[in-house]
Symmetry: C2
Subunit: 322 residues, 2 copies
């Protein structure tokens, strides 16, 4: 009989579950559901339970453990969700206990950035690394650490907040309340904001970009900026290069402090192309101490990174118990 692991992703826009065999980097099966705008913690959980039971009843085998990625801050030690920035009802929610009672197997829950780090470490671009920084560059910027051959989460499960190190003192205001955070300068929405500002300030430039958004800068996305840059739009190229520079500076700070073996970049923004990557690597190297060499590589998992991370969490939970 197969030994099964269940991975659960409570994401910002959808919930998803996947079933995998213990120790194998491959899904047996998968279910997902887009969240409704009125969703709350209870409806998220109901959805996930329904999807999970449906999945489990379609496959024979013994469920050994569950890993959960949550798109928001988690208290790993206590197994509770701190809060959600997307939906009500999640504050201090004892998710680990809830799922343990439901399924009667051990459960490990973590935030999506840590789950992403553990997923890449187990199955992806960070396998065999003793130390690793994983960064996801998406609607926000998050990070997770593997150090001394183990996930490192910090004293309050708050380590890895590379999106909130300051890369431009007195720079733009960040959602966190500080100014000049990396996230405010290099995440997807920051890239589109910057492109809009330049289009509005520099009439006559950014022709390809204007065409892509059909003359309505309000529709601009970071993906359009990448597309325009790859098609030769100079304004878009400059916006992307600036974001890449700040990301490289942030990575350089992390390398200076931590000297990890590898940096793995995930999230949608890292699909921006060769010039973007070259600038990230150049700036990271410029801002690292001489003698620190590190590979900066693309994540193996991008679209379903949290779910792979959840499966890896379940694997790690079992191997830590052995």
């Amino acid at each position: 009989m197969s030994s099964l692991l269940l991975g659960i992703d409570f994401g910002g826009t959808k919930n998803a579950v996947a079933l995998a065999k213990h120790g194998v980097a491959e899904w047996l099966d998968y279910r997902r559901q887009i969240s409704s705008p009125t969703a709350d913690a209870q409806s998220d959980i109901n959805t996930v339970l329904e999807l999970s039971h449906d999945l489990l009843s379609s496959h024979s085998g013994a469920l050994l453990a569950i890993g959960v990625s949550f798109g928001g801050p988690v208290d790993f030690e206590n197994g509770t969700v701190r809060c959600s920035y997307h939906r009500p009802g999640w504050s201090d929610f004892p998710l680990q206990e809830h799922l343990q009672n439901e399924f009667d197997v051990p459960v490990s829950i973590d935030n999506d950035a840590n789950a992403g780090a553990i997923g890449e470490w187990y199955f992806g671009a960070g396998s065999n690394c003793n130390s690793l920084l994983y960064i996801t560059v998406s609607t926000g910027i998050g990070g997770g650490w593997i150090l001394n051959g183990n996930p490192y989460r910090g004293a309050n499960s708050m380590a890895g907040e590379i999106g909130h190190i300051i890369v431009k003192p007195n720079g733009p205001k960040c959602a966190c309340g500080k100014t000049g955070c990396l996230e405010a300068l290099a995440c997807g929405p920051a890239i589109s904001r910057q492109a809009v500002a330049r289009i509005e300030a520099e009439s006559g430039s950014g022709e390809i970009l204007r065409h892509l958004c059909r003359g309505n800068p309000g529709r601009l996305t970071a993906e359009m900026v990448s597309q325009a840059a790859n098609n030769g739009d100079e304004l878009a190229q400059n916006v992307l290069l600036e974001a890449a520079s700040y990301l490289g500076l942030g990575i350089g700070q992390a390398l200076t402090l931590m000297n990890p073996e590898r940096v793995v970049l995930g999230g949608g923004v890292i699909k921006a192309g060769k010039t973007y990557w070259a600038e990230v690597r150049r700036a990271a190297s410029e801002h690292s101490p001489p003698g620190i060499y590190v590979d900066i590589v693309p994540a193996h998992y991008t679209d379903e990174a949290p779910l792979w991370g959840a499966i890896a969490l379940a694997n790690h939970l079992l191997s830590s118990q052995e």
Copy 2:
């Protein structure tokens, strides 16, 4: 018969050795020798061997292990000194093997900042911490990490270089070649340089400071700046507050990335007084994400921190082997 540990400090200006009982935070005995200006690796080693044999022959007991703090970059994995910034002859020197052959016991060598971290973790202000950032603010600024309940040194033994994270883009040139590093703005010589610059630019201010250096700004030290600040000299107070602000900003970046349980500050500069400490803590908190709380506390060991670290390294070596 006593179980003895030998601690060795190859410092910038002196070499020192101490003998301690296994597991006890107390020296049995101690020897030191100021280095001559013409010293090199061989003369340093000869001095240390002579002091060590003298110490060992004065005490009965079995030597179990040796810990070494070296004032410069060390390759911990290979047990070699990378180089010395003070003396010739140290490049790629196999110090661990050399001492193992001489004394026929296990030897652990590390740089002085990591040794300082391990010393505070074993015996000092960081005992019982599962994660810890140690920072020494002196003629330079160095750092060492304890993470997941173990020393963390990084992929190339280069972690902890908090002195070289950038806190003022395009700021003053640092000895490392970059600009705006924390060290270039907050170490002892940076404080005295800044005081000299202000004294020369602002005639009529800094009266107490001018008196302390007897009208010769070239003689100014960071200690004099602290003394003048504590006696009410406004220029000195402003110089110190600025250095404290940058240190706090650097610490805030480290807390954002790593969320350690505690920060321990060592080195001569941290004796600068209450106002300095208050500003370090304020700036660190300002630049940390909300919800990350951390104690920033003075080191237990200041003057002989590397030697205590060396003894702690020897203790840790034995406990890792158990």
